[in-house]
């Protein structure tokens, strides 16, 4: 077996060191080594977006990132979105908009939405659908998700002006 590596990354703002084998993906390490099971495993081939996390501020499917590649990187996961029991506007809007049913895809959608709204505070419906094309949901039919993302964008704009 290849020697385990020591990896140091900033995860949700905390400097974190972990041991991993080169063959372990970031998704496996988050879930199985660090016990951060909020990030979900779906297809494990980059198609479904369930395992989306932000790596150095950009969304990636963590099933297609080796954990050793995260050395020195900053990682943001679903666990870092809410502030204690205070939900983030995206989470709040997903909840109020019934943008989830089984919930497996939801952490990925939330992270992908966080990435979108950081870049673009005024997304159109087409922007939202294009940006979320790498996230699959087999329950909702997407409309409620898209509406919730647009609501979160509007909420954040309101927050910014008050």
């Amino acid at each position: 077996m290849s020697k385990k590596r020591v990896v140091s990354a900033t995860i949700n703002g905390n400097t974190t060191e972990f041991l991993c084998e080169p063959r372990q993906t970031l998704l496996e390490v988050l879930r199985n080594v660090l016990n951060m099971t909020g990030t979900k495993e779906g297809c494990t081939n980059g198609n479904c977006g369930s395992c989306t996390v932000l790596l150095n501020g950009r969304p990636v499917t963590s099933c297609l990132v080796l954990a050793v590649e995260a050395d020195g990187a900053s990682v943001r996961t679903i666990e870092g979105v809410a502030c204690g029991s205070h939900l983030d506007p995206v989470q709040q809007c997903f909840l109020e908009g019934a943008a989830l049913q089984c919930g497996i895809c939801t952490p990925g959608f939330i992270m992908q939405t966080e990435a979108l709204l950081e870049q673009n505070g005024h997304p159109t419906e087409a922007d939202v659908r294009f940006h979320l094309a790498g996230n699959l949901c087999r329950c909702t039919g997407y409309d409620k998700i898209v509406r919730s993302v647009l609501a979160a964008a509007e909420f954040k704009r309101g927050e910014a002006t008050t």
């Binding site: 077996m1 290849s2 590596r5 084998e21 080169p22 063959r23 372990q24 993906t25 494990t44 081939n45 980059g46 198609n47 977006g49 989306t52 790596l55 950009r58 969304p59 990636v60 499917t61 099933c63 297609l64 990132v65 080796l66 050793v68 590649e69 992908q112 990435a115 087409a126 659908r129 294009f130 940006h131 094309a133 790498g134 996230n135």
Partner: protein, 298 residues
Amino acid sequence: MRDFDYAAPTTLADAVMLLSRGNGAARPLAGGTDLIDHVRTGRLAPDTVVDIKKIAELNVLEASPQGLRLGAAVPCYRVYGHAAIVADYSALADSGHIIGGVQIQTRASFGGNVCNSGPAADSTPSLIALGAVCVIAGPKGTREVPAEDFCTDPSKNVLQPGELLVEFRIPARAKNSGSHYRRFIPRNEMDIAVVSVAASVTLDDAKQKIIAARISLGAVAPKPLLATDAAAVLIGQVPTDDILAKAADAARKIATPITDMRGTAEYRTHLVGVLVTRVLQAAITRAKGEKLDYRPGH
């Protein structure tokens, strides 16, 4: 997933050494969007994965009067986020925007897409249309291969054991020229091309006649094609509907598509004509300096 060792060299020489030493069992890792999946499914079984993202030469992204240098490991989002590429090498930005979803674009590189050598790869036709040259480093030194000669068959290319694709060099955009890439898929995004076409067109000073053109076709042969005869039809001509139809006819003649779940050979051949016409019109619009009404994925 299969056990492997991991190395992240910081120099090209070290990378070539690691890749050569592996005797074919070492594989380069750029974005990993193909490699990691292929290792997981057993299609590839490397003993060593060589992460090439820490090598300066593979991260170069530089537009100058001499042209564009695009490092093989530069991810898609940096390509379409680069103002000079959007303005002067538009087909590359068109390609980068529709390779996978946004998450894939964070990681996937043009170099990896070309080395994976899929006939329907979205970056290869644009590189061919823009006249890119592939710079390859290996144990015997460096060599250059035109983009249209890089792929040889599905998943096959000219790379020899120990060789590594380093960068693409693309000639500077000529005055009054424009380019475009588009694919046909039955959805808006996240699909593999049924047919794809890239074109680069240069107009004369009066912006009336075509003086140079390159057209590339994807997903209609074992490798992306340079449609030389279709481009030759356009030279010295005013691009009327009739001339564009003749170019489309010439392009259809070199298409040898397969029939599969994405479309029949006849359907694909028909689409070649449709797309060549539309992509040429779009490239001409850009060559005239006019804004193209085009949103990626639509």
